[in-house]
């Protein structure tokens, strides 16, 4: 689903393209073939919107034909009530073990450019 909210995914893609274009140029390569992102399941990103924005922003850059691979990282939390490491899928999930909401996210908020394939 493409959200009807304003798309900061465009800003994110501009950052991605800028980073990979700089690295590609600095290391003497010509073209980006593929980019791997790691996006946490609870990150503030709509993946479809991100893919759409990437296709728009990559135009006329070294990544003009680059494929985008998105690796989703699971939401992980440390529950303060039951002191267990648990998996969460939403920021408002209760702890799956004790039902409490006093937990700290330990993973699942990532927005990283992991790797790229260049030639």
């Amino acid at each position: 689903m493409i959200p009807i909210t304003p798309m900061h995914e465009f800003s994110l893609c501009e950052g991605i393209i800028e980073t990979i274009a700089t690295q590609t140029r600095q290391q003497g390569f010509n073209r980006v073939r593929r980019v791997w992102l790691e996006i946490g399941a609870l990150a503030n990103v709509e993946l479809d919107a991100l893919r759409f924005a990437f296709e728009v922003v990559r135009q006329d850059t070294v990544a003009a034909t680059a494929e985008l691979d998105i690796i989703t990282l699971p939401g992980r939390a440390q529950c303060l009530d039951c002191a267990q490491a648990v998996e969460v899928t939403q920021l408002f999930d209760p702890c799956p073990l004790c039902g409490g909401y006093q937990w700290r996210l330990t993973g699942g908020n990532e927005m990283r450019i992991k790797e790229m394939e260049v030639e």
Binding site: H8, G15, L37, F92, M111, I113, E117, E119
Partner: protein
């Protein structure tokens, strides 16, 4: 062996210099996995492991250093359009400008109306027109600071673009995000926009004077907000009637005192270090 950097796995480390010649060197990290790609195709895998928002984070860190050095308490105000943010801010600066320096940076897609309302309330303000942009970023705030007297020892309010999605991701160098929700909105907004409520340190529930006229379950709303962020502080107020404003103003004053105290500690440490250098130098 990979001819590009000699690392043996066909992976490149990111160098801080920009010449792609060959030279053997030590990597501080392992290359534990093999992507099995063809060197014959002259493609390379380049590990980046870089946060997408790294650049914004750098600018935000620069802003934060400046704010710390000058003892400025900075709040990033975020909300939906129509939450009463500008009215709240106008009323806030009207009071606080009598006590310490106050300034406002406002983000608006098109107009300068908000800045004009703040200036009318007696505080220096600049507007950043974001055009189609849906949020302020740290770089834009840095440039806005060139056009605004920095409220040393006081408070800088950054009024973000009315939007509960995008501004959640962009650190501007603030001490806290303050999310403003009004009772004319849905009480389930904390669940609909959880990232924003999770990123905020304080929530202001505004327009409480309208509660008799709307179907808004305050208890449920606050419960939703605390589900998303169990550390979230919450204050209820009406910027229109002034009800609840005192607690909010006190909250800002406390933050301003803390920022000033930290500035003093930093300056004292610098002074001790400078005196020690002077003593060592035989002065």
């Amino acid at each position: 062996m990979c001819v590009t950097c000699g690392c043996g796995e066909g992976e490149l480390a990111i160098h801080s210099h920009d010449h792609p010649h060959d030279h053997p060197h030590e990597h501080g990290h392992g290359h534990g996995h093999d992507h099995g790609h063809e060197h014959a195709a002259e493609t390379r895998r380049v590990r980046l492991e870089q946060d997408i928002l790294a650049k914004n984070a750098e600018f935000a860190a620069g802003n934060r250093r400046l704010f710390a050095a000058r003892g400025v308490f900075v709040l990033n105000l975020v909300s939906s359009p129509g939450s009463g943010k500008t009215a709240l801010l106008a009323r806030t600066v009207q009071v606080l400008r009598e006590e310490f320096p106050v300034a406002v940076i406002g983000g608006d897609q098109q107009t300068a109306n908000d800045a004009e309302r703040i200036i009318a309330a007696g505080a220096p303000a600049v507007q950043i027109n974001t055009g189609k942009g849906c949020h302020l970023d740290a770089h834009g705030v840095g440039h806005a600071l060139e056009r605004l007297p920095l409220p040393e020892g006081g408070v800088l309010f950054i009024e973000n673009v009315g939007n509960l999605v995008c501004p959640a991701d962009f650190d501007l160098g603030e001490a806290h995000k303050v999310v403003i929700l009004s009772v004319t909105e849905g009480e389930d907004k904390p669940l609909k926009y959880p990232n924003m409520f999770a990123a905020s340190g304080l929530m202001l529930l505004n327009k409480t004077d309208l509660l008799p006229h709307v179907d808004f379950d305050v208890t449920r709303c606050l419960e939703y907000a605390r589900r998303v962020n169990s550390d979230l502080q919450i204050l209820q107020l009406s910027a229109r009637t002034g009800d609840g404003m005192a607690a909010w103003l006190d909250w800002v004053r406390r933050g301003q005192r803390i920022a000033l105290t930290q500035q003093v500690s930093r300056l004292e440490a610098d002074l001790v270090a400078a005196r020690a250098r002077l003593a060592r130098g035989g002065g």
